[in-house]
């Protein structure tokens, strides 16, 4: 259920993941609040958006060079547009739910965004999928809210909303302490259970690699708020005909992932700092937004 954990996921979190995370722990130097010492302290004075650090879909990281050194924007391909619109839809649906507008109208919001003028893709399909996501989130939020109403009859509506939908969605945070962009947007932070969520739409690649995104956000959270964030969750949304499929990958943000993120950040910052073109790899992924630039 997008960011709500189902029964099995909750059991996994409480009985397996949390105890394991406590047992294994995290090395102090790899906590975000140690941003001013090695290895977390950025080596180059460069700030990068999180997606450039984590994406890894260009085998040589030439996308970083093209974007930050050459200032080139990639194309809005269909998958990119789909990703943008679904992220916006999820964010807006949660905002409506928090205002208890569980029957908010999708069409009027969608039209107001003028997507079809700004972006490109197969909008018929995108709109259909976005609507599915919208309806799904609002009905799930409504069900959660109403079940909370019956079990907590004395809670105020605001309190109940904050408890039943305990998510900061598209939370803005500055990653400057860690050499990332000053205007990051975290897809979702569950403030009751301290989990960082990241949303992936139509993703087909290596799911393990995606763990690096919540890891980066967790480090940024730790650097700003100085509280430990040990659990991350990737939410994969895919569409199959008239159905939407949601899968989650919950994991411990361990030393390995943390140092991997640091390594990626440093390698990519170096490309920008030294303005070096890393070159074109033997093969490029089909959906790379720079294919027309690199001529592959």
């Amino acid at each position: 259920m997008v960011y709500f954990l189902d029964e099995l996921e909750s059991k996994n979190l409480l009985k397996s993941l949390r105890p394991k995370a406590r047992q294994v722990g995290v090395t102090e130097e790899l906590r975000g609040w140690n941003w001013d010492t090695s290895p977390l302290k950025p080596y180059h004075d460069v700030s990068l958006p999180m997606y450039l650090i984590c994406a890894g879909y260009c085998p040589t990281s030439r996308d970083v060079y093209l974007s930050k050194v050459k200032g080139m924007k990639g194309e809005y391909t269909h998958p990119v547009t789909m990703g943008v619109i679904i992220h916006d839809t999820v964010g807006q649906a949660f905002r409506e739910a928090k205002l208890k507008k569980f029957d908010a109208d999708f069409s009027s919001w969608y039209e107001s965004m003028d997507y079809e003028k700004r972006l490109s893709g197969n909008f018929e399909e995108i709109r259909r999928c976005a609507k599915m996501v919208w309806n799904f989130i609002l009905s799930a939020a409504k069900a959660r809210f109403e079940s909370c109403l019956v079990t907590q009859p004395y809670g105020s509506p605001e309190e109940l909303i904050l408890t039943t939908i305990p998510f900061l969605v598209e939370h803005r945070i500055s990653g400057r302490l860690l050499g990332t962009s000053g205007m990051l947007s975290v897809d979702c932070f569950d403030y009751m259970r301290n989990i960082i969520f990241d949303l992936k739409v139509g993703f087909k690649g290596d799911r393990y690699r995606c763990r690096i995104y919540p890891t980066g956000y967790a480090l940024v959270f730790e650097s700003v708020y100085e509280v430990p964030v040990d659990i991350g969750c990737n939410v994969f949304i895919n569409f199959k005909g008239e159905r939407m499929i949601v899968e989650k990958d919950l994991f411990h943000i361990n030393d390995d992932l943390r140092s991997w993120w640091i390594e990626e950040r440093d390698n990519k910052a170096e490309i920008v700092y030294e303005e070096k073109d890393p070159g074109i790899p033997p093969s490029c992924p089909d959906d790379c937004i720079y294919r027309s630039v690199c001529g592959e």
């Binding site: 394991k20 047992q23 294994v24 722990g25 995290v26 090395t27 090695s38 290895p39 302290k41 080596y43 411990h252 361990n254 030393d255 390995d256 992932l257 140092s259 991997w260 640091i262 390594e263 440093d266």
Partner: protein, 345 residues
């Protein structure tokens, strides 16, 4: 479980009431300075001129404890290990793999991990010097890059039997190591007279420290290889030579940087050892007792330190053991590939 280190003249490891004791003779008096039940001992290291009784060796062997003798030059002089516990199957597969791509894959992986660890150590040292010594940090970073380029070349080597690819692998390893030690040498104070790795017979204090540290690590790796059921002499990367524990040396490659180099460099950079604590004897640089004890204590306590792996928090000594077991499993065909050990920082 603890590690018993017996160093210095006049100390004897013996048995009293089925317990392991260390006796020390002072003037005309003999007193017991250590006492433990053997099952509480993980390993015994005899360094300097200590001695051990036959009964103590038997009791330690009965309890699966191995005994390592290390001389002042930092060489493992002898080992006493309990009888083999694993099946012969592992060894059969180990010998067979030498002529198959499996052996070459292992050799390549050991070198790959060694180079990754060299890179991470240089990278970490560069980061800590970024503000205080920018020129040195830059040089370290360049060294790291240099190794990375050789790593790409290593990846290009097709996997084949050890004999077919060993020269190419060793060539790359040699180039990477030259870059690594050259980068390190720029950080070490002139008074230590460190130019490069000199190997077996140290001619300067840094090499004396490294050799001794590697000997301690060798003892640990030997134990791990032994318990995993592997033949310590049947290596892949290191060529067979009489008396050379090639498999032990192979396994060691992945741990030298994190467990020995790091400790040695920290002792030097923090001035915990000084050049005056070393002297030349017959052309070999020798550590004085104080420096030797300090290094031994630091490395052994590092072995007891915990490291956080993705799924577990483990002692370094257990990580070595785990790697040896993984190699054995790969050789027996219980796993289809072997990923070695390296750290990102």
């Amino acid at each position: 479980m603890s590690r018993l280190v017996v160093d210095g003249w006049g100390k004897t490891i013996a048995v009293e009431n089925e317990q392991i004791v260390v006796k020390e003779r002072e003037a005309n008096e003999t007193k017991i300075v250590y006492r433990s039940i053997p099952s509480e001992i993980e390993q015994v290291i005899v360094t300097g001129s200590g001695s051990i009784t036959t009964r103590a060796i038997e009791l330690l062997a009965e309890n699966g404890v191995d005994v390592v003798f290390i001389d002042w030059k930092g060489q493992v002089r002898a080992r006493i290990s309990p009888p083999i516990m694993r099946t012969v199957n592992t060894r059969r597969e180990q010998y067979r793999a030498f002529d198959e791509p499996k052996g070459g894959a292992l050799a390549k992986e050991f070198v790959r991990c060694k180079m990754r660890n060299q890179m991470s150590l240089l990278g970490t040292m560069a980061k800590t010097r970024r503000d205080s010594q920018p020129a040195k940090a830059q040089a370290l970073s360049e060294g790291r890059h240099g190794i990375e380029l050789w790593l790409e070349k290593l990846d290009e080597i097709r996997t084949a039997s050890c004999n077919e690819i060993r020269d190419a692998i060793m060539g790359i390893e040699g180039n990477a190591s030259a870059i690594y030690w050259d980068s390190i040498s720029q950080l070490i104070d002139e008074s230590f007279q460190f130019r490069n790795r000199s190997g077996r017979y140290a001619t300067d204090p840094v090499n004396a420290l490294l050799n001794y540290g590697y000997a301690v690590l060798e003892g640990e790796c030997w134990k791990a290889i032994h318990y995993a059921g592997l033949d310590p002499y049947g290596g892949f990367l290191h060529v067979d030579r009489p008396g050379r524990a090639s498999m032990v040396l192979d396994l060691m490659e992945m741990f030298r940087q994190q467990l020995v180099d790091k400790v040695v460099f920290e002792l030097i950079f923090h001035k915990r050892v000084e050049p005056k604590e070393f002297e030349m004897e017959n052309g070999v640089c020798k550590m004085q007792e104080g420096a030797r004890k300090l290094l031994l204590t630091e490395i052994l306590s590092k072995m007891e330190d915990h490291i956080r792996l993705p799924e577990k928090r483990m002692k370094w000594s257990d990580v070595i053991q785990r790697e040896a077991v993984s190699v054995a499993k790969f050789l027996r065909g219980e796993t289809t590939s072997y990923r070695g050990f390296w750290m990102r920082w």
